[in-house]
Symmetry: C2
Subunit: 577 residues, 2 copies
């Protein structure tokens, strides 16, 4: 690959070192600065960071709040001094860039020393994102916090230390309200519970972790409830008041939650004021538009990280994606381009993300069902509940996977929730997505198998097998969301055992265990009376066999994706018999 950039315009004249200014000293910006130095020993690289810290572990903040990362210093991966020693970088914290002058190639920077102008041959903007401030009255209440920076976590720890001490002393007041059940919100909840606080979690969407498909979210809700978290779903916080003792959060349904601590994390938006003022092109979502080499509309300015627009691999939609991995790679790419080094093709973003919620892991890659529906992308959804390793080996945990496939078999997205092995499968599926793999390819993947690690037919292979059967007509599917239609127009056939049926079932379903289906075929045929048959079992495996028996006998049978387990998640009223 040869870079389309013309490095000559940026290489200074003979003997004069290249001057590079980087605005923002965390993930993307610091990756760019480090790569620049490694590629160009003579360049003068200045990193301007408005905060007190550079290159800190922002993804580690919730775990410092919980105490799991005990030492604050562990979060500070580098300091200006260590970066000077190993990479000869000129890193200046407490330096805020207030303007960019593209014409003179200078930035205006304010610091304790006053205002200065710094010239550049190449400028890299890595301003990151800022927390979205939701429309809630009273957000200035002193009990309201957010969790984005080292100072944020310092402040939160001080409050939590005090509350934990009060609670130890017998004071029942140690209540927290967390607004926003996204990735960081859930990590904050986990941390606050670990510190002994009573936590209320408020989420506007109808399920926790909104990027997750709805049928997986109840697993997280159950885990949160099992750890004493009070959930308030489908409601918003409308105001934060004060009752003389502490804060009171009022929700849109009228609930009033007294709180000693309120943590608000409802998302981020790109920090693009500087780019906008400099006249750089922004995309429709307000993020900075860049080319394949991270170059902005100004030939001397690059941009990386949470503030830039990227293309989503599955939907093709453009927008910002606030993830550390892509930010680091963008920083590297910008440095390569500036130095005239071979740049690697920028891969569209998959949005791969993961979160620990107490004992569970939830992860996603590619497009979720809500996005595919919204964008009108035809897709077949497959649900799987499988052991994370061989079932005959002790300790197998159930792994819940959902994957979507295009009609031609191409994988579009996947999600997983479980107590073990989720991260592995989502990483394999993220790799498969990047490769453009189909259900056939997943079926043929050759993954590492020994009983402690997986199965001869790994859950990822199984997703491929099930999708093949669903897409080629071997096993037509129905989905849990279709239950009303199934009850109205088809025979619902439950092929679990009589005992399982007695413990809870769909009202109106016929129960014929799958092992009796061959001998009781006529009974089922007569009950169907010409209608299609909507088969289900607990997870989808026995009902697959049943579907094949019925179809082999000439009946129009289809299999419930995910079985009773997914049905109950989508229709909670079915939980009791």
């Amino acid at each position: 690959m040869t870079s389309p950039t013309s490095p000559t315009s940026l290489t200074s004249t003979a003997g004069t070192p290249r001057r590079v200014v980087v605005v923002g000293g965390v993930a993307g910006g610091m990756s760019a600065a480090a790569r620049l130095r490694r590629l160009d020993e003579t360049a003068h690289v200045v990193v301007l960071e408005q905060g007190e810290h550079v290159s800190f572990a922002n993804c580690g903040l919730p775990y410092h709040l919980s105490g799991e990362i005990e030492r604050r210093e562990a979060l500070l991966l580098h300091t200006p001094e260590t970066l000077r020693a190993s990479l000869d970088l000129d890193v200046r914290t407490g330096h805020r860039v207030t303007a960019v002058d593209p014409a003179s190639r200078e930035v205006v920077v304010e610091s304790a020393a006053g205002t200065a102008r710094i010239g550049y041959d190449a400028l890299i903007l890595a301003p990151g994102a800022v927390a979205v401030r939701p429309p809630v009255d009273g957000l200035d209440h002193p009990s309201v916090h957010t969790l984005r920076t080292v100072p944020d976590v310092d402040a939160l720890r001080a409050v939590v230390d005090r509350l934990a001490a009060q609670r130890t002393a017998g004071d029942e007041r140690a209540r927290a309200v967390v607004v926003g059940a996204g990735f960081i919100g859930l990590e904050a909840v986990e941390a606050l519970v670990a510190r002994g606080l009573q936590v209320h979690l408020v989420e506007l969407a109808d399920h926790v972790l909104p990027p997750l498909d709805a049928e997986l979210a109840p697993l997280l809700s159950d885990e949160l409830a099992a750890h004493g978290v009070d959930l308030h779903l489908g409601v918003s916080a409308t105001s934060v008041g004060d009752d003389g003792v502490g804060a009171v959060v009022t929700l849109s349904d009228g609930t009033r939650l007294p709180a000693d601590l309120v943590v608000v994390n409802v998302g981020v938006r790109p920090a693009t004021q500087l780019a906008r003022d400099a006249g750089l092109d922004l995309g429709p979502t307000g993020a900075i538009r860049v080319d394949a080499d991270q170059r902005t509309s100004d030939p001397h300015i690059w941009a990386v990280g949470d503030a830039v627009e990227v293309q989503h691999a599955v939907t093709g939609l453009a927008g910002p994606v606030p993830l550390a991995g892509p930010a680091n790679r963008q920083g590297r790419r910008a440095a390569d381009a500036i130095c005239g080094h071979r740049t690697t093709p920028q891969a569209p973003v998959l949005g791969t993300a993961i979160v620990r919620v107490f004992g569970l892991t939830a992860a996603t890659t590619g497009a979720n069902q809500a996005t595919l529906r919204r964008e009108g992308v035809p897709h077949e959804v497959v649900h799987l509940h499988a052991g994370h390793h061989a079932g005959y080996f002790p300790g197998a945990e159930t792994l819940h996977l959902v994957a979507s496939f295009a009609p031609d078999g191409r994988l579009l997205g996947a999600q997983g929730v479980g107590r073990a092995g989720v991260d592995k499968r989502i990483d394999v599926l993220a790799t498969a997505l990047r490769a453009g793999f189909t259900a056939d390819d997943l079926a043929e993947l050759e993954l590492a198998y020994a009983p402690p690690y997986g199965s001869a037919k790994d859950p990822v292979n199984m997703l491929g097998f099930v999708a093949q059967n669903a897409l080629d007509g071997t096993m037509p599917q129905w989905q849990a969301a279709d239950l009303d239609e199934a009850l109205a127009h088809t025979l619902v056939l439950d092929v679990r055992s009589a005992k399982e049926f007695a413990d809870g079932h769909v009202p109106g379903a016929l129960n014929v265990p799958h092992t009796e289906l061959r001998t009781r075929f006529a009974e089922v045929r007569d009950a169907a009376g010409g209608r299609p048959i909507s088969v289900h079992c607990a997870s989808g495996m026995r009902s697959y066999l049943a579907t094949r028996i019925l179809r082999g006998g000439g009946l129009d049978a289809r299999n419930l994706s995910g079985g009773w387990f997914t049905l109950r998640a989508v229709h909670p009223h079915l939980t009791t018999a």
Copy 2:
């Protein structure tokens, strides 16, 4: 995909069910039988198994020996009765097929009931593999066992139970000799140690787990030694005698090992006598030759599993690969072909495999270095020692990865050893191999990152980054095996701290910590005196920075792949200062 087979010749005339005979009722054979039934409700499917058990968990046998899988029944995943009930299969254990008559389309089968002939429209051979019997005198000694089947493990457990009881009673004699340090041999060692036996492990190759690259094997040797296992590498067992009390194993170096138990697992070979006698084409390695649909040279006979020849994805070499995953998929494919169902393209085999050795995991996918050297495939090797998750999050374990890349960047193979996260990375790399990914693609993979699970720059991304730098000339490498040449013709420069250097170093190396390299540049230049500079640090990261500083100053520097850690593994005499 449309199958190239002509199903019409196998579909019986109107109304007559298709007759299929499957020889062998474990992984591949049983997968074929089950898929056949699911695709064809009317077929008559007979499974003939010479042993007592079908569909048993052969990969679980060592864990039943150790007691980790306590219940023997857990290994027996299905019985003829359960297979009859759910899949209407006619499964006959204790039935040995002694001949195939392709002309009359019949098999000759012997059982307790005598000899019979069974006709078929389609025959699937899944005979598996048989243990290789090494050239050792006295292998008929009653103390000699192997570990391939349920009866094998039953016999072993009886011996081990007795020995463990003797040991508990104070008898020091409870000694085992395991011959063969491959995957199953290592699992057997782990099991015997868990049961309290003193274990000697004998391996002809110069390192344990011969498929593993030599520089990773010392990690396993150290783990085995830490658990009290006595290693005998580079020697063979020549005879098993008897000293009147028990067996005595004599090794090729003259060592005599008294033993109460000898377990021999030196590999397997395809069980192809039946196919050979039937006149089917065999490949050059003696395995059964099949087409893309698993069909043999006889149009009515298919073959699957350990006995068939497959093509290796990286080397293109043909040969048998005894792995459960490929066997299962081959069974499925044969059934699809017989039923005229769409078959999926057969992917060449990667040889992905994994083993637990006490607290360590070792895994491999694709071609190892020994194979690439033997086949003359040009390749660049990259070593990485990285945390299995973010270093600032507690509990990060070092993951040791080795990967080989073609000059154009294509991944050729990868291996890993460590206490956590090895299985995930090897599965991602196996998926990347299948996709034909390059170092650039690995660098751009978007894997799930939160501190408990990985790093923003995952070890797999890092392999890509390092390989990019090595291949595009940014960071030329030298390898641990080149140490003598480096000492003879270059300046060996150790850029670790003075403390690390004092704790052990290459005799003759110059020590300049990487942070002092810019100020002591002239000293290094003068010491090199025009020679190239062979830089190293502990793992390869600081020496990468040093290499860039030196090259930025016009010197010919190269970086040691894997650093001091890999150097010590290859040159054990360097361990002490």
